[in-house]
Protein backbone atom coordinates (compact mmCIF):
# COMPACT_ATOMS: atom_id res chain seq x y z
CA UNK A 1 0.00 0.00 0.00
CA UNK A 2 2.70 2.43 1.10
CA UNK A 3 4.72 1.43 -1.93
CA UNK A 4 1.98 2.24 -4.44
CA UNK A 5 1.24 5.51 -2.59
CA UNK A 6 4.90 6.51 -2.84
CA UNK A 7 5.01 5.57 -6.49
CA UNK A 8 1.92 7.68 -7.15
CA UNK A 9 3.42 10.66 -5.35
CA UNK A 10 6.68 10.30 -7.27
CA UNK A 11 4.91 10.14 -10.63
CA UNK A 12 2.81 13.15 -9.63
CA UNK A 13 5.91 15.16 -8.67
CA UNK A 14 7.59 14.31 -11.93
CA UNK A 15 4.46 15.45 -13.73
CA UNK A 16 4.66 18.78 -11.88
CA UNK A 17 8.37 19.10 -12.70
CA UNK A 18 7.88 18.47 -16.40
CA UNK A 19 4.81 20.74 -16.55
CA UNK A 20 6.97 23.47 -15.05
CA UNK A 21 9.67 22.78 -17.63
CA UNK A 22 7.08 22.97 -20.43
CA UNK A 23 5.92 26.32 -19.10
CA UNK A 24 9.52 27.50 -18.72
CA UNK A 25 10.38 26.38 -22.23
CA UNK A 26 7.91 28.73 -23.83
CA UNK A 27 7.99 31.61 -21.35
CA UNK A 28 11.46 31.96 -19.84
CA UNK A 29 14.41 33.81 -21.35
CA UNK A 30 17.18 32.01 -23.15
CA UNK A 31 19.52 32.82 -20.27
CA UNK A 32 17.20 31.32 -17.63
CA UNK A 33 16.71 28.19 -19.71
CA UNK A 34 20.47 27.83 -19.93
CA UNK A 35 20.70 27.94 -16.13
CA UNK A 36 17.94 25.34 -15.83
CA UNK A 37 19.88 23.04 -18.14
CA UNK A 38 23.08 23.61 -16.20
CA UNK A 39 21.24 22.67 -13.04
CA UNK A 40 20.07 19.40 -14.58
CA UNK A 41 23.57 18.55 -15.80
CA UNK A 42 25.09 19.37 -12.44
CA UNK A 43 22.52 17.23 -10.62
CA UNK A 44 23.47 14.36 -12.95
CA UNK A 45 27.16 14.92 -12.23
CA UNK A 46 26.76 15.40 -8.49
CA UNK A 47 24.55 12.36 -7.97
CA UNK A 48 26.93 10.09 -9.84
CA UNK A 49 30.00 11.64 -8.19
CA UNK A 50 28.40 11.12 -4.79
CA UNK A 51 28.00 7.43 -5.58
CA UNK A 52 31.73 6.78 -5.77
CA UNK A 53 32.84 9.33 -3.16
CA UNK A 54 29.98 9.29 -0.69
CA UNK A 55 28.32 5.87 -1.01
CA UNK A 56 31.30 3.68 -1.87
CA UNK A 57 33.72 5.91 0.05
CA UNK A 58 36.42 5.97 -2.66
CA UNK A 59 37.88 9.42 -3.07
CA UNK A 60 37.95 10.17 -6.80
CA UNK A 61 38.99 13.44 -8.41
CA UNK A 62 38.02 12.29 -11.87
CA UNK A 63 34.76 14.00 -12.91
CA UNK A 64 36.34 16.68 -15.12
CA UNK A 65 38.31 14.04 -17.01
CA UNK A 66 35.25 11.82 -17.42
CA UNK A 67 33.24 14.81 -18.54
CA UNK A 68 35.90 15.45 -21.17
CA UNK A 69 35.98 11.84 -22.33
CA UNK A 70 32.19 11.78 -22.63
CA UNK A 71 32.08 15.13 -24.41
CA UNK A 72 34.64 14.04 -26.98
CA UNK A 73 33.16 10.57 -27.44
CA UNK A 74 29.69 11.89 -28.17
CA UNK A 75 30.87 14.87 -30.26
CA UNK A 76 33.02 12.64 -32.47
CA UNK A 77 29.96 10.50 -33.16
CA UNK A 78 27.41 13.24 -33.88
CA UNK A 79 29.47 15.52 -36.13
CA UNK A 80 28.54 15.13 -39.78
CA UNK A 81 31.21 13.83 -42.18
CA UNK A 82 31.17 17.20 -43.99
CA UNK A 83 31.74 19.09 -40.75
CA UNK A 84 34.59 16.73 -39.86
CA UNK A 85 36.19 17.28 -43.27
CA UNK A 86 35.89 21.02 -42.73
CA UNK A 87 37.31 21.18 -39.17
CA UNK A 88 40.15 18.69 -39.37
CA UNK A 89 42.43 21.00 -41.30
CA UNK A 90 45.82 20.00 -39.94
CA UNK A 91 45.39 16.27 -40.16
CA UNK A 92 42.37 14.49 -41.66
CA UNK A 93 40.25 12.46 -39.28
CA UNK A 94 40.96 8.80 -38.84
CA UNK A 95 38.80 6.49 -40.92
CA UNK A 96 36.14 5.15 -40.08
CA UNK A 97 35.48 7.88 -37.50
CA UNK A 98 35.55 10.40 -40.33
CA UNK A 99 32.46 8.96 -42.01
CA UNK A 100 30.41 7.81 -39.03
CA UNK A 101 27.57 9.94 -37.76
CA UNK A 102 24.93 8.62 -35.34
CA UNK A 103 21.83 10.10 -33.70
CA UNK A 104 22.33 12.15 -30.53
CA UNK A 105 20.79 9.51 -28.22
CA UNK A 106 23.15 6.84 -29.54
CA UNK A 107 26.12 9.17 -29.11
CA UNK A 108 25.19 9.71 -25.44
CA UNK A 109 25.08 5.97 -24.91
CA UNK A 110 28.49 5.62 -26.60
CA UNK A 111 29.83 8.44 -24.41
CA UNK A 112 28.64 6.63 -21.28
CA UNK A 113 30.08 3.29 -22.33
CA UNK A 114 33.46 4.68 -23.42
CA UNK A 115 33.80 6.62 -20.17
CA UNK A 116 32.83 3.60 -18.09
CA UNK A 117 35.47 1.53 -19.93
CA UNK A 118 38.10 4.17 -19.20
CA UNK A 119 37.07 4.02 -15.53
CA UNK A 120 37.38 0.24 -15.49
CA UNK A 121 40.89 0.47 -16.99
CA UNK A 122 41.81 2.94 -14.27
CA UNK A 123 40.25 0.77 -11.57
CA UNK A 124 42.30 -2.32 -12.50
CA UNK A 125 45.60 -1.18 -10.99
CA UNK A 126 44.14 1.22 -8.41
CA UNK A 127 41.62 -1.01 -6.65
CA UNK A 128 43.89 -4.07 -6.68
CA UNK A 129 45.75 -2.53 -3.78
CA UNK A 130 44.28 -0.99 -0.68
CA UNK A 131 44.89 2.66 -0.03
CA UNK A 132 43.88 6.05 -1.33
CA UNK A 133 45.53 5.90 -4.73
CA UNK A 134 42.34 6.68 -6.62
CA UNK A 135 42.55 10.41 -5.90
CA UNK A 136 46.07 10.68 -7.33
CA UNK A 137 45.44 8.48 -10.35
CA UNK A 138 42.13 10.11 -11.30
CA UNK A 139 43.65 13.56 -10.86
CA UNK A 140 46.61 12.56 -13.02
CA UNK A 141 44.28 11.16 -15.65
CA UNK A 142 42.78 14.62 -16.14
CA UNK A 143 46.22 15.90 -17.12
CA UNK A 144 47.00 12.86 -19.23
CA UNK A 145 43.74 13.28 -21.11
CA UNK A 146 44.63 16.87 -22.02
CA UNK A 147 48.00 15.80 -23.38
CA UNK A 148 46.45 12.92 -25.32
CA UNK A 149 43.67 15.08 -26.73
CA UNK A 150 46.14 17.76 -27.77
CA UNK A 151 48.32 15.28 -29.59
CA UNK A 152 45.83 12.90 -31.21
CA UNK A 153 45.20 15.26 -34.10
CA UNK A 154 43.45 12.68 -36.23
CA UNK A 155 40.89 11.82 -33.56
CA UNK A 156 40.31 14.95 -31.48
CA UNK A 157 41.56 17.62 -33.86
CA UNK A 158 44.16 18.56 -31.21
CA UNK A 159 44.08 21.95 -29.57
CA UNK A 160 41.79 23.29 -32.30
CA UNK A 161 38.99 21.35 -30.66
CA UNK A 162 35.71 20.31 -32.18
CA UNK A 163 33.44 23.02 -33.49
CA UNK A 164 30.04 23.20 -35.08
CA UNK A 165 28.29 20.62 -32.92
CA UNK A 166 24.53 20.64 -33.35
CA UNK A 167 22.83 22.16 -30.27
CA UNK A 168 20.89 18.98 -29.58
CA UNK A 169 20.85 19.45 -25.81
CA UNK A 170 17.67 21.12 -24.68
CA UNK A 171 15.56 21.28 -21.55
CA UNK A 172 14.05 17.85 -22.25
CA UNK A 173 17.29 16.02 -22.88
CA UNK A 174 19.06 17.49 -19.86
CA UNK A 175 16.19 16.95 -17.43
CA UNK A 176 15.27 13.59 -18.92
CA UNK A 177 18.82 12.31 -18.39
CA UNK A 178 18.92 13.92 -14.96
CA UNK A 179 15.76 12.13 -13.79
CA UNK A 180 16.97 8.88 -15.32
CA UNK A 181 20.32 9.15 -13.50
CA UNK A 182 18.69 9.86 -10.16
CA UNK A 183 16.27 6.97 -10.70
CA UNK A 184 19.06 4.49 -11.56
CA UNK A 185 21.28 5.68 -8.72
CA UNK A 186 18.54 5.37 -6.10
CA UNK A 187 17.68 1.89 -7.29
CA UNK A 188 21.30 0.85 -7.19
CA UNK A 189 21.85 2.30 -3.72
CA UNK A 190 18.78 0.49 -2.37
CA UNK A 191 19.83 -2.85 -3.83
CA UNK A 192 22.25 -5.38 -2.45
CA UNK A 193 24.96 -3.83 -4.65
CA UNK A 194 24.44 -0.47 -2.98
CA UNK A 195 24.56 -2.04 0.47
CA UNK A 196 27.79 -3.80 -0.50
CA UNK A 197 29.24 -0.42 -1.56
CA UNK A 198 28.35 1.05 1.82
CA UNK A 199 29.84 -1.98 3.56
CA UNK A 200 33.13 -1.44 1.74
CA UNK A 201 33.04 2.22 2.76
CA UNK A 202 32.35 1.36 6.40
CA UNK A 203 34.83 -1.46 6.87
CA UNK A 204 36.57 -3.16 3.98
CA UNK A 205 37.90 -6.03 6.10
CA UNK A 206 34.46 -6.83 7.48
CA UNK A 207 32.96 -6.53 3.99
CA UNK A 208 35.45 -9.06 2.63
CA UNK A 209 34.87 -11.38 5.59
CA UNK A 210 31.18 -11.41 4.57
CA UNK A 211 31.96 -12.56 1.05
CA UNK A 212 31.97 -9.19 -0.68
CA UNK A 213 34.60 -8.83 -3.38
CA UNK A 214 35.70 -5.27 -2.57
CA UNK A 215 37.61 -4.91 -5.84
CA UNK A 216 34.56 -5.75 -7.93
CA UNK A 217 32.19 -3.59 -5.92
CA UNK A 218 34.49 -0.57 -6.07
CA UNK A 219 35.01 -1.04 -9.80
CA UNK A 220 31.26 -1.31 -10.30
CA UNK A 221 30.66 1.92 -8.37
CA UNK A 222 33.40 3.72 -10.27
CA UNK A 223 32.22 2.53 -13.69
CA UNK A 224 28.57 3.33 -12.91
CA UNK A 225 29.55 6.80 -11.78
CA UNK A 226 31.77 7.33 -14.84
CA UNK A 227 29.01 6.18 -17.19
CA UNK A 228 26.71 9.01 -16.13
CA UNK A 229 29.51 11.54 -16.02
CA UNK A 230 30.33 10.59 -19.60
CA UNK A 231 26.68 11.02 -20.60
CA UNK A 232 26.66 14.41 -18.88
CA UNK A 233 29.78 15.27 -20.88
CA UNK A 234 27.87 14.48 -24.07
CA UNK A 235 25.02 16.74 -22.94
CA UNK A 236 27.41 19.55 -22.09
CA UNK A 237 29.22 19.27 -25.41
CA UNK A 238 25.98 19.65 -27.34
CA UNK A 239 24.92 22.53 -25.14
CA UNK A 240 28.02 24.65 -25.70
CA UNK A 241 28.63 23.23 -29.23
CA UNK A 242 32.39 23.84 -29.16
CA UNK A 243 34.83 21.77 -27.12
CA UNK A 244 38.59 21.81 -26.71
CA UNK A 245 41.04 19.82 -24.56
CA UNK A 246 41.55 22.65 -22.08
CA UNK A 247 37.85 23.27 -21.51
CA UNK A 248 37.30 20.65 -18.82
CA UNK A 249 39.46 22.07 -16.09
CA UNK A 250 39.75 20.85 -12.55
CA UNK A 251 37.24 23.56 -11.60
CA UNK A 252 34.43 21.18 -12.59
CA UNK A 253 35.65 18.60 -10.11
CA UNK A 254 36.20 21.24 -7.46
CA UNK A 255 32.64 22.55 -7.88
CA UNK A 256 31.23 19.04 -7.66
CA UNK A 257 33.26 18.30 -4.57
CA UNK A 258 31.79 21.40 -2.93
CA UNK A 259 28.32 20.31 -3.99
CA UNK A 260 28.49 16.79 -2.59
CA UNK A 261 30.12 17.90 0.65
CA UNK A 262 27.61 20.67 1.24
CA UNK A 263 24.75 18.32 0.37
CA UNK A 264 26.04 15.70 2.76
CA UNK A 265 28.55 13.12 1.57
CA UNK A 266 26.69 9.88 0.90
CA UNK A 267 23.23 11.41 0.50
CA UNK A 268 21.76 11.45 -3.01
CA UNK A 269 19.05 13.84 -1.84
CA UNK A 270 21.72 16.15 -0.46
CA UNK A 271 23.62 16.08 -3.75
CA UNK A 272 20.48 17.12 -5.64
CA UNK A 273 19.65 19.97 -3.26
CA UNK A 274 23.22 21.26 -3.20
CA UNK A 275 23.57 20.99 -6.99
CA UNK A 276 20.53 23.24 -7.39
CA UNK A 277 21.69 25.70 -4.72
CA UNK A 278 25.27 25.99 -5.93
CA UNK A 279 24.51 26.11 -9.66
CA UNK A 280 21.72 28.61 -9.25
CA UNK A 281 23.64 30.47 -6.51
CA UNK A 282 26.69 30.63 -8.74
CA UNK A 283 24.64 32.52 -11.32
CA UNK A 284 23.00 34.71 -8.71
CA UNK A 285 26.38 35.66 -7.29
CA UNK A 286 27.70 36.63 -10.70
CA UNK A 287 27.20 40.32 -9.86
CA UNK A 288 30.20 40.08 -7.51
CA UNK A 289 32.39 39.73 -10.55
CA UNK A 290 30.75 42.45 -12.59
CA UNK A 291 31.30 46.18 -12.35
CA UNK A 292 28.52 47.88 -10.46
CA UNK A 293 27.62 51.20 -8.97
CA UNK A 294 26.96 50.63 -5.29
CA UNK A 295 25.54 53.66 -3.47
CA UNK A 296 27.63 55.99 -5.54
CA UNK A 297 30.82 53.91 -5.20
CA UNK A 298 32.18 52.44 -8.37
CA UNK A 299 32.79 48.69 -7.81
CA UNK A 300 35.07 47.26 -10.49
CA UNK A 301 34.10 43.64 -10.00
CA UNK A 302 36.66 40.98 -9.19
CA UNK A 303 36.88 38.00 -11.55
CA UNK A 304 37.05 34.72 -9.66
CA UNK A 305 35.29 36.23 -6.66
CA UNK A 306 32.62 33.51 -6.73
CA UNK A 307 35.24 30.81 -6.37
CA UNK A 308 36.63 32.57 -3.33
CA UNK A 309 33.13 32.70 -1.89
CA UNK A 310 32.51 29.03 -2.58
CA UNK A 311 35.82 28.09 -1.00
CA UNK A 312 34.90 30.05 2.10
CA UNK A 313 31.52 28.30 2.20
CA UNK A 314 33.26 24.93 1.84
CA UNK A 315 35.66 25.71 4.67
CA UNK A 316 32.78 26.86 6.89
CA UNK A 317 30.85 23.67 6.14
CA UNK A 318 33.91 21.53 6.91
CA UNK A 319 34.41 23.38 10.20
CA UNK A 320 30.89 23.78 11.52
CA UNK A 321 28.55 21.44 9.64
CA UNK A 322 30.61 18.45 8.61
CA UNK A 323 27.64 16.35 7.67
CA UNK A 324 26.28 18.96 5.25
CA UNK A 325 22.63 19.68 4.57
CA UNK A 326 21.33 16.11 4.69
CA UNK A 327 24.02 14.16 6.53
CA UNK A 328 23.58 10.67 5.17
CA UNK A 329 19.81 10.65 5.30
CA UNK A 330 17.58 10.54 2.25
CA UNK A 331 14.26 12.05 1.30
CA UNK A 332 11.30 9.72 1.67
CA UNK A 333 7.60 10.33 1.19
CA UNK A 334 7.00 8.75 4.57
CA UNK A 335 9.26 11.32 6.22
CA UNK A 336 7.94 14.25 4.16
CA UNK A 337 4.29 13.43 4.89
CA UNK A 338 5.06 12.98 8.58
CA UNK A 339 6.77 16.37 8.61
CA UNK A 340 3.79 18.05 6.91
CA UNK A 341 1.29 16.42 9.31
CA UNK A 342 3.42 17.61 12.19
CA UNK A 343 3.41 21.21 10.90
CA UNK A 344 -0.34 21.11 10.33
CA UNK A 345 -1.09 19.86 13.82
CA UNK A 346 1.14 22.58 15.28
CA UNK A 347 -0.76 25.18 13.27
CA UNK A 348 -4.14 23.96 14.52
CA UNK A 349 -3.09 24.28 18.17
Amino acid sequence: MAVSRDRLLTVFSLFILFSFLAYADSNFSHYTLRILQNIAIFITLAVSYNLINGIAGQFSLGPNAFLAVGAYASAIFTLSPEEKLRSFIIEPMLWPLSVISVPFAASLLIAGIVTALVAILMAMPVFRVRGDYLAIVSLGFGEVFQVLANNSMSITNGSLGLKGLQPYTNLWWSWGICVFTVFCTLRLVNSSYGRAMKAVREDETAAEAMGINAFRIKTLAFAFSAFFQGVAGGLLAHLITTISPSLFTFMFTFNLLIIIVIGGLGSTTGSIIAAVLITWGGEALRFFEEPANLFGFQYEGIPGMRMVLFSVILILVMLFARSGIMGRSEFSWEGALGWIKNKLSVMKV
Partner: protein, 265 residues
Protein backbone atom coordinates in the same frame (compact mmCIF):
# COMPACT_ATOMS: atom_id res chain seq x y z
CA UNK B 1 31.88 -36.27 4.88
CA UNK B 2 31.82 -34.71 8.34
CA UNK B 3 35.27 -33.15 8.37
CA UNK B 4 34.83 -29.44 7.73
CA UNK B 5 38.13 -27.80 8.52
CA UNK B 6 41.48 -29.51 8.30
CA UNK B 7 44.56 -27.43 9.12
CA UNK B 8 48.03 -28.87 8.84
CA UNK B 9 51.28 -27.28 10.04
CA UNK B 10 50.00 -23.74 9.67
CA UNK B 11 52.69 -21.11 10.36
CA UNK B 12 52.58 -17.34 10.21
CA UNK B 13 55.54 -14.96 10.38
CA UNK B 14 55.33 -11.21 10.92
CA UNK B 15 58.72 -10.01 9.77
CA UNK B 16 61.06 -12.07 11.94
CA UNK B 17 58.44 -12.87 14.57
CA UNK B 18 56.73 -16.21 14.34
CA UNK B 19 53.17 -15.63 15.52
CA UNK B 20 51.97 -19.14 14.72
CA UNK B 21 54.11 -22.27 14.67
CA UNK B 22 52.85 -25.38 12.87
CA UNK B 23 49.27 -25.39 14.09
CA UNK B 24 47.19 -28.42 13.21
CA UNK B 25 43.50 -28.58 13.94
CA UNK B 26 40.38 -30.36 12.72
CA UNK B 27 36.79 -29.24 13.11
CA UNK B 28 33.93 -31.59 12.25
CA UNK B 29 30.29 -30.87 11.63
CA UNK B 30 28.40 -30.50 14.92
CA UNK B 31 31.55 -29.85 16.96
CA UNK B 32 32.54 -26.83 18.99
CA UNK B 33 36.33 -26.62 19.10
CA UNK B 34 38.07 -24.22 21.47
CA UNK B 35 41.30 -22.40 20.67
CA UNK B 36 42.81 -20.98 23.82
CA UNK B 37 46.08 -19.56 25.04
CA UNK B 38 47.46 -16.54 26.90
CA UNK B 39 47.45 -13.04 25.38
CA UNK B 40 49.47 -12.81 22.19
CA UNK B 41 49.52 -16.59 21.76
CA UNK B 42 48.49 -16.35 18.11
CA UNK B 43 44.81 -17.31 18.32
CA UNK B 44 43.46 -14.41 16.29
CA UNK B 45 46.34 -14.85 13.87
CA UNK B 46 45.19 -18.45 13.33
CA UNK B 47 41.65 -17.27 12.49
CA UNK B 48 43.06 -14.60 10.18
CA UNK B 49 45.12 -17.20 8.33
CA UNK B 50 42.17 -19.58 8.01
CA UNK B 51 39.81 -16.90 6.68
CA UNK B 52 42.28 -15.43 4.20
CA UNK B 53 42.80 -12.12 5.96
CA UNK B 54 46.52 -12.88 6.08
CA UNK B 55 48.63 -15.29 4.07
CA UNK B 56 50.05 -18.21 6.02
CA UNK B 57 53.80 -18.68 5.49
CA UNK B 58 53.63 -22.46 5.68
CA UNK B 59 51.08 -25.22 5.97
CA UNK B 60 47.74 -25.93 4.44
CA UNK B 61 44.07 -25.29 5.11
CA UNK B 62 41.45 -27.63 3.71
CA UNK B 63 37.74 -26.90 3.92
CA UNK B 64 35.26 -29.65 3.08
CA UNK B 65 38.02 -31.51 1.30
CA UNK B 66 39.06 -28.53 -0.84
CA UNK B 67 42.37 -26.77 -0.34
CA UNK B 68 41.70 -23.10 0.39
CA UNK B 69 45.18 -22.02 1.51
CA UNK B 70 45.91 -18.50 0.31
CA UNK B 71 42.46 -17.91 -1.18
CA UNK B 72 41.22 -14.32 -0.93
CA UNK B 73 38.97 -13.64 2.07
CA UNK B 74 35.70 -13.06 0.16
CA UNK B 75 36.05 -16.36 -1.67
CA UNK B 76 36.62 -18.26 1.56
CA UNK B 77 33.60 -16.56 3.12
CA UNK B 78 31.41 -17.48 0.16
CA UNK B 79 32.56 -21.07 0.50
CA UNK B 80 31.03 -21.23 3.95
CA UNK B 81 33.40 -19.91 6.63
CA UNK B 82 31.95 -16.98 8.57
CA UNK B 83 33.70 -15.19 11.39
CA UNK B 84 33.36 -12.50 14.01
CA UNK B 85 36.10 -10.13 15.10
CA UNK B 86 37.75 -9.70 18.48
CA UNK B 87 37.54 -5.91 18.14
CA UNK B 88 33.98 -5.78 16.77
CA UNK B 89 33.87 -4.75 13.13
CA UNK B 90 30.35 -3.68 12.25
CA UNK B 91 29.27 -1.34 9.46
CA UNK B 92 28.84 1.30 12.09
CA UNK B 93 26.87 3.98 10.26
CA UNK B 94 24.38 1.54 8.79
CA UNK B 95 21.24 0.18 10.40
CA UNK B 96 21.20 -3.10 12.30
CA UNK B 97 19.09 -4.80 9.64
CA UNK B 98 21.34 -3.55 6.83
CA UNK B 99 24.34 -5.00 8.64
CA UNK B 100 22.76 -8.43 8.48
CA UNK B 101 21.41 -8.04 4.94
CA UNK B 102 24.88 -7.19 3.62
CA UNK B 103 26.16 -10.65 4.50
CA UNK B 104 23.56 -12.11 2.14
CA UNK B 105 25.05 -10.27 -0.83
CA UNK B 106 26.72 -13.37 -2.21
CA UNK B 107 23.36 -15.17 -2.24
CA UNK B 108 21.54 -12.74 -4.52
CA UNK B 109 20.62 -14.02 -7.95
CA UNK B 110 19.74 -10.70 -9.58
CA UNK B 111 22.22 -8.85 -11.75
CA UNK B 112 23.08 -5.24 -11.24
CA UNK B 113 21.06 -4.27 -14.32
CA UNK B 114 18.02 -5.96 -12.79
CA UNK B 115 18.71 -4.02 -9.59
CA UNK B 116 18.77 -0.69 -11.43
CA UNK B 117 15.58 -1.40 -13.34
CA UNK B 118 13.93 -3.13 -10.38
CA UNK B 119 12.84 -6.04 -12.55
CA UNK B 120 13.35 -9.80 -12.67
CA UNK B 121 14.54 -11.54 -9.55
CA UNK B 122 15.14 -8.25 -7.73
CA UNK B 123 11.97 -7.98 -5.61
CA UNK B 124 11.81 -11.66 -4.72
CA UNK B 125 15.45 -11.76 -3.62
CA UNK B 126 15.17 -8.55 -1.62
CA UNK B 127 12.10 -9.87 0.19
CA UNK B 128 13.89 -13.13 0.94
CA UNK B 129 17.04 -11.40 2.23
CA UNK B 130 15.04 -9.06 4.40
CA UNK B 131 12.85 -11.70 6.01
CA UNK B 132 15.87 -13.91 6.62
CA UNK B 133 17.66 -10.97 8.25
CA UNK B 134 14.68 -10.35 10.54
CA UNK B 135 14.64 -14.05 11.44
CA UNK B 136 18.29 -13.91 12.44
CA UNK B 137 17.77 -10.74 14.46
CA UNK B 138 14.89 -12.42 16.29
CA UNK B 139 17.12 -15.40 16.92
CA UNK B 140 19.69 -13.12 18.58
CA UNK B 141 16.99 -11.14 20.44
CA UNK B 142 17.73 -8.02 18.43
CA UNK B 143 14.37 -7.83 16.65
CA UNK B 144 13.27 -4.50 18.09
CA UNK B 145 16.58 -2.85 17.28
CA UNK B 146 16.38 -3.55 13.53
CA UNK B 147 16.27 0.08 12.41
CA UNK B 148 18.74 1.44 14.97
CA UNK B 149 22.17 2.53 13.83
CA UNK B 150 24.66 -0.27 14.53
CA UNK B 151 27.10 1.79 16.61
CA UNK B 152 24.32 3.02 18.89
CA UNK B 153 23.90 -0.51 20.28
CA UNK B 154 25.39 -1.48 23.65
CA UNK B 155 28.55 -3.57 23.49
CA UNK B 156 26.92 -6.94 24.17
CA UNK B 157 24.30 -6.38 21.49
CA UNK B 158 26.98 -5.40 19.00
CA UNK B 159 28.63 -8.79 19.58
CA UNK B 160 25.30 -10.52 19.00
CA UNK B 161 24.74 -8.48 15.85
CA UNK B 162 28.11 -9.62 14.54
CA UNK B 163 27.00 -13.22 15.03
CA UNK B 164 23.65 -12.58 13.32
CA UNK B 165 25.59 -11.08 10.43
CA UNK B 166 27.94 -14.06 10.26
CA UNK B 167 24.96 -16.45 10.22
CA UNK B 168 23.42 -14.56 7.31
CA UNK B 169 26.23 -16.01 5.20
CA UNK B 170 24.70 -19.46 5.83
CA UNK B 171 28.08 -20.76 6.93
CA UNK B 172 29.05 -24.37 7.48
CA UNK B 173 31.77 -23.23 9.85
CA UNK B 174 31.49 -20.34 12.28
CA UNK B 175 34.62 -18.85 13.84
CA UNK B 176 33.98 -16.75 16.95
CA UNK B 177 36.79 -14.56 18.29
CA UNK B 178 36.03 -13.84 21.97
CA UNK B 179 32.22 -13.73 21.61
CA UNK B 180 31.50 -13.29 25.35
CA UNK B 181 34.11 -10.61 26.06
CA UNK B 182 32.24 -7.80 27.79
CA UNK B 183 29.22 -9.92 28.71
CA UNK B 184 28.21 -10.48 32.32
CA UNK B 185 28.07 -14.05 33.78
CA UNK B 186 24.34 -14.42 33.16
CA UNK B 187 24.61 -13.27 29.56
CA UNK B 188 27.60 -15.57 29.12
CA UNK B 189 25.70 -18.59 30.40
CA UNK B 190 22.73 -17.78 28.15
CA UNK B 191 25.06 -17.37 25.21
CA UNK B 192 26.63 -20.78 25.92
CA UNK B 193 23.18 -22.38 25.82
CA UNK B 194 22.39 -20.49 22.65
CA UNK B 195 25.59 -21.70 21.02
CA UNK B 196 24.82 -25.33 21.82
CA UNK B 197 21.30 -25.09 20.34
CA UNK B 198 22.64 -23.27 17.33
CA UNK B 199 25.18 -25.98 16.68
CA UNK B 200 22.48 -28.66 16.98
CA UNK B 201 19.84 -26.84 14.93
CA UNK B 202 22.03 -25.71 12.09
CA UNK B 203 24.44 -28.65 12.34
CA UNK B 204 27.43 -26.43 11.71
CA UNK B 205 30.95 -26.55 13.12
CA UNK B 206 32.15 -23.86 15.49
CA UNK B 207 35.66 -22.62 16.25
CA UNK B 208 35.83 -20.61 19.44
CA UNK B 209 38.45 -18.33 20.97
CA UNK B 210 37.85 -16.99 24.46
CA UNK B 211 39.55 -16.07 27.69
CA UNK B 212 36.52 -16.98 29.84
CA UNK B 213 37.68 -20.46 30.86
CA UNK B 214 34.48 -21.63 32.48
CA UNK B 215 32.57 -20.69 29.33
CA UNK B 216 35.09 -22.45 27.08
CA UNK B 217 35.12 -25.59 29.24
CA UNK B 218 31.33 -25.60 29.29
CA UNK B 219 30.65 -25.50 25.56
CA UNK B 220 33.68 -27.00 23.81
CA UNK B 221 33.93 -30.62 22.75
CA UNK B 222 37.70 -30.41 22.25
CA UNK B 223 40.25 -27.73 23.00
CA UNK B 224 43.54 -26.78 21.37
CA UNK B 225 45.93 -24.77 23.54
CA UNK B 226 48.69 -22.63 22.03
CA UNK B 227 51.37 -20.54 23.68
CA UNK B 228 53.70 -18.15 21.87
CA UNK B 229 52.36 -19.56 18.62
CA UNK B 230 53.27 -23.12 19.57
CA UNK B 231 50.59 -25.77 20.08
CA UNK B 232 51.08 -27.19 23.58
CA UNK B 233 47.99 -29.27 24.27
CA UNK B 234 44.95 -30.90 22.68
CA UNK B 235 42.09 -32.75 24.31
CA UNK B 236 38.75 -32.67 26.01
CA UNK B 237 38.11 -29.89 28.54
CA UNK B 238 38.88 -32.19 31.48
CA UNK B 239 42.19 -33.34 29.97
CA UNK B 240 43.31 -29.83 29.03
CA UNK B 241 42.34 -28.42 32.42
CA UNK B 242 44.72 -30.76 34.21
CA UNK B 243 47.59 -30.58 31.73
CA UNK B 244 50.66 -29.23 33.58
CA UNK B 245 51.92 -27.51 30.39
CA UNK B 246 48.67 -25.60 30.10
CA UNK B 247 48.69 -24.63 33.76
CA UNK B 248 52.25 -23.33 33.53
CA UNK B 249 51.49 -21.43 30.29
CA UNK B 250 48.72 -19.64 32.10
CA UNK B 251 50.92 -19.11 35.19
CA UNK B 252 50.40 -15.69 36.64
CA UNK B 253 47.02 -15.33 34.97
CA UNK B 254 43.66 -16.15 36.49
CA UNK B 255 43.49 -19.55 34.82
CA UNK B 256 43.33 -21.42 38.12
CA UNK B 257 40.78 -19.02 39.51
CA UNK B 258 38.66 -19.52 36.42
CA UNK B 259 39.06 -23.29 36.78
CA UNK B 260 37.98 -23.23 40.41
CA UNK B 261 34.98 -21.15 39.45
CA UNK B 262 34.07 -23.68 36.85
CA UNK B 263 34.45 -26.60 39.28
CA UNK B 264 32.12 -25.00 41.79
CA UNK B 265 29.50 -24.07 39.14
Amino acid sequence: MDLLLDINGLSVFFGGVQALNKLSLQIRKGEIIGLIGPNGAGKTTAFNAITGRIHPSEGSVFFCGKEITGWPAPRIARNGIARTFQNIKLYEDLSVIENVMIAAHSSISYSFIEAILGVGRYSRDEARIKSRAYELLELMNLGELASEQANSLPYGSQRKLEIARALALNPRLLLLDEPVAGMNPTETREFGQFLLTLRDNLSIGVGLIDHDMSFVMEVCDMIRVIDHGIPIAWGTPSVVRNDPKVISAYLGTDFNGAMDNHATN
